[in-house]
Symmetry: C2
Subunit: 546 residues, 2 copies
């Protein structure tokens, strides 16, 4: 039995995904939606042997030879993340920036040795967790100033090293993926409960480096708050923070590394705060006549101090698309869970608030309610979405998402502005009407994190260029509206133009100084977030003009 | 009527504090406690006219002349914070490091102009909020490398500039003190609900710069999480973050500034997240036979997801000292509050958990319960504590506190170790037995923040040196035990030796690089947290050997 291999052009393992009947049904449904007679897939999945791959420019020293690979499959797998333009380019067999080598360290010493060698060799090093980046965060598109590129895959640093049941925390290696992590914690009744959509194919280190957003709709929205301490290997040495439940001693060292997207060091392990596995649950679906009314209810909920685990408001079209809606109402999927207490009083009050704002409550009963009804339908669609997306690309359908966060006072103008401008942009760029839908993935007392999904029928030949124009327009809309360029998809390369308008210029100067201190040769993930001092990588990869 | 003036040697305004009868009773009680016949105050409060003050070495340019003062009162008021050694030195009339000038900017332009002038003049600038630092954070003890020192008092930047009721947030100037801030928010039914012990005499900017700890025992323990956006004036220009309820775009710019203690820039305003004023409350006192049993109950509470507002476990001696105890039991003061819902179900479950761990529950009833009973007695003592402490100094009593945070697995050994080692240190250093008590001020799912109070009878002449030895021992114990050198008192100058053992060395290097970027001349609060690049300020002020 061979081990399953991950696809170089799509989500999950080779052989996984939609079956022929599903693909046919999808093509028919999309043809109807976009008003054409039929849609036929244009690109069969590429064969590795057919792909032209530039020769490797680097040679690792003998001592590292069993830690590195120059095999075509390894290089191709690490050439892209999982964004829409990644899928387009991979399906076309265009691999213009594959890493010269892929390194698989088995220890921190290996990581340090690879960084030392790369510094000497003037090779760029791209830390690689699960490779699920949707913003060009792992593409070795570093310009011409490096002797070559190394993708540093943490997959073999994949163990839970220590577990502290009393404090509910564990020391965990960064390369572990979601399912393995949860499996390791389960025997002790513990769970990280961080379930980004990429859960199965993303890693702890990747979540921390990109400020991933997970399971909890309120309170513990990002991975940030679960980080108790970090170990990071930088070209200048090891950076290890102290295990502390809280501290007021100077600026937080962890917060410098959380969200640093591989430009300051390689996260090798973290002490993570864990949860007891929930024993009590309640879930409900509430329908609202309009998204605005639903948003008002969610605002009240977000400011109530009830902290629902799930509080996802889905607009009518999107609820309908995922099979959870009735096509007319916005849908609020509401959930509470606890390992300690019955959550009835919490749900009762939350539903009162929803009803006060015009919500029509449907509350499934029973033990498995969180996996049933509207909530369950939506959950299943959520987890399978990446497989659907990869099947849309060969049909020429541009389907992508972007997310932001905004204070409540500006939400309505952001939502109506983006819906309208995005509709116009899709029509202008593709020559056809597209769709724009919205849901809230996470909510805060001072504002929601709206998540937009758009879809349009593109032209197969111009697909990449059309996507770039649409993406640039989306970036601008978000920043013009006062939002953040990303709530939990990270900056990478694709969001840099927006991020540069958003962050204080002096903060970028501090980041460059931090990078100069920790990575003086500027080898780590150049072009992500900032250019290293003295080098201009700029926007490369998916966002570069062809 | 003259405006009340703040004391140069103690807490609050001139004329405030204990009255003669209270002082007499305190002296008698302390004499009994320390086993001496009587204790007589040795130092009358100094008269400003009697204090020898070095001549001012700086002259501000004419354009700033109405923004600066070289008056003795102003210089003396800004010479110290409110720590124990500050009180000793001030009561003795020893003002060795007064600022040469005190600046009172009325605008951000003033702040920028003062920083520009100071950069040119090679003058050190010490940002000053309420001046309530207990760790040498505002003392102009900067060594010999500067032409002089300026205390930059933000008191005139004291307004709420903008209020966003929808998002529950306000844009607030950094120099506003607690009571004025709450008064400004009250008409809109809003509150920041950040009540450090220094509340009346500390400022928003000070809270943010020092990662102050406040009202909430769980969840919103530090000011950090209430910060939505910041404006900071640095010598290199303005640093302004975007108003966002949450973001995943790169490392957080705000978290670089939160806890920077005035070394990177001057916080001039912040968008702060607010709360609705609570309408529902429940409070209870629970007694435990021992502190360890109480700690186990608090651990269960901290991991329950109930998030009590108040969850302060006080050991038997400390509860007794503040008049809230029975002398034998540890006391847990438990409170819930909400603007949205009755908190009965929350309290009911919390008391079940407490009872499961051997707690004996006393639950006051009625509307004003949070101000009555054991909880109320403790609260009143808490707010008056600074006045008591200033009255102890002239009696030769060394009374001080230190706080930390530690994961639950190591709490018991930290607690017993510190109690024992501190008892031994007090006896060795003062030649007499002292007392060490403990309470939890804040708790996290992965550990508590224990707060230690110690008291010993010192010798009037050696008071400062005795305190230094004790403080150095306490710093070491905390760090040896795995804790943080400070949970919410900041690092300043007095905690630097501990902090240097705690933080990653590479993080200090990054902070120096950040400082070099934002404050290239190294004028801002030199000696706090780090020495500026190329200068050695080291430990000065209260912790320097005489």
């Amino acid at each position: 039995m061979t081990e399953p291999r991950r696809k170089i052009w799509g989500w999950g393992y080779e052989g996984e995904g939609l079956d022929a009947a599903e693909r046919e049904a999808l093509a028919a449904a999309l043809a109807r939606r976009h008003g054409v007679d039929e849609l036929k897939p244009r690109a069969p999945a590429p064969q590795i042997s057919d792909i032209e791959l530039a020769p490797t420019r680097l040679k690792a020293p003998a001592v590292l030879s069993d830690r590195v690979s120059a095999e075509p499959y390894d290089r191709l797998l690490h050439a892209y993340g999982k964004s829409f333009p990644d899928a387009v380019r991979a399906l076309r067999g265009e691999f213009t920036n594959p890493p010269d080598l892929v390194a698989y360290p088995r220890s921190e010493e290996d990581v340090a040795a690879i960084l030392d060698w790369a510094t000497d060799a003037r090779a760029a090093v791209i830390p690689f967790g699960g490779g699920s980046s949707v913003c060009g965060g792992v593409e070795p598109a570093v310009g011409d100033e490096y002797a070559g590129t190394v993708s540093l895959d943490l997959a073999r640093l994949d163990r839970v090293l220590e577990l502290d049941r009393t404090s509910r925390a564990a020391r965990i290696q960064a390369g572990i993926r979601g399912p393995a992590l949860e499996a390791a914690l389960r025997p002790d009744g513990l769970t990280l409960r961080h379930f980004p959509q990429s859960f199965e194919h993303s890693t702890l280190g990747g979540w921390i480096a990109t400020r991933s957003g997970g399971h909890y709709a309120t309170l513990y929205t990002h991975i940030d708050d679960f980080v108790e301490a970090l170990r990071v290997i930088t070209p200048a040495g090891a950076f290890e923070s102290r295990r502390l439940p809280g501290s007021g001693a100077g600026p937080s060292p962890d917060r410098l590394m959380i969200g640093s997207e591989g430009i300051l060091g390689v996260i090798t392990e973290a002490w993570m705060r864990l949860q007891d596995r929930p024993r009590h649950r309640a879930s409900a679906a509430v329908r609202f006549a309009g998204f605005t009314a639903g948003a008002e209810a969610v605002r009240a909920l977000s400011q109530s101090g009830l902290f629902p685990t799930n509080c996802r408001l889905i607009d009518a079209s999107e609820a309908d698309n995922t099979g959870a809606g009735d096509g007319e109402s916005s849908l609020l999927v509401l959930g509470f869970e606890s390992a300690d207490h019955e959550v009835g009083p919490w749900m009762t009050r939350a539903l009162e608030l929803a009803a006060d704002h015009g919500g029509m409550v449907h509350r499934p009963e029973g033990e498995r309610a969180h996996r049933e009804g509207a909530a369950g339908a939506w959950r299943d669609a959520f987890l399978r979405a990446p497989y659907f997306r990869e099947a849309m690309v060969p049909l020429g359908v541009i389907a992508d998402t972007f997310e932001t966060a905004i204070t409540w006072d500006r939400f309505e103008s952001l939502h109506s502005g983006i819906t309208e401008r995005m509709g116009a942009a899709l029509r202008e760029i593709t020559g056809r009407p597209g769709t724009v839908t919205c849901r809230f993935t996470h909510v805060y007392p001072d504002g929601p994190a709206p998540y937009f999904t758009f879809q349009a029928l593109g032209s197969w030949d111009g697909l990449l260029d059309q996507w770039r124009q649409i993406k640039a327009a989306a970036n601008e809309m978000v920043i013009d509206s006062g939002g953040t360029i990303t709530h939990h998809h990270a900056v990478g390369r694709d969001h840099r133009p927006g991020w540069e308008r958003q962050r204080p210029e002096l903060f970028a100067a501090v980041l460059r100084a931090a990078k100069q201190t920790l990575d003086p040769a500027g080898i780590l993930n150049p072009g992500v977030l900032i250019d290293p001092a003295g080098r201009s990588v700029g926007v490369t990869g998916a966002m570069a003009a062809e």
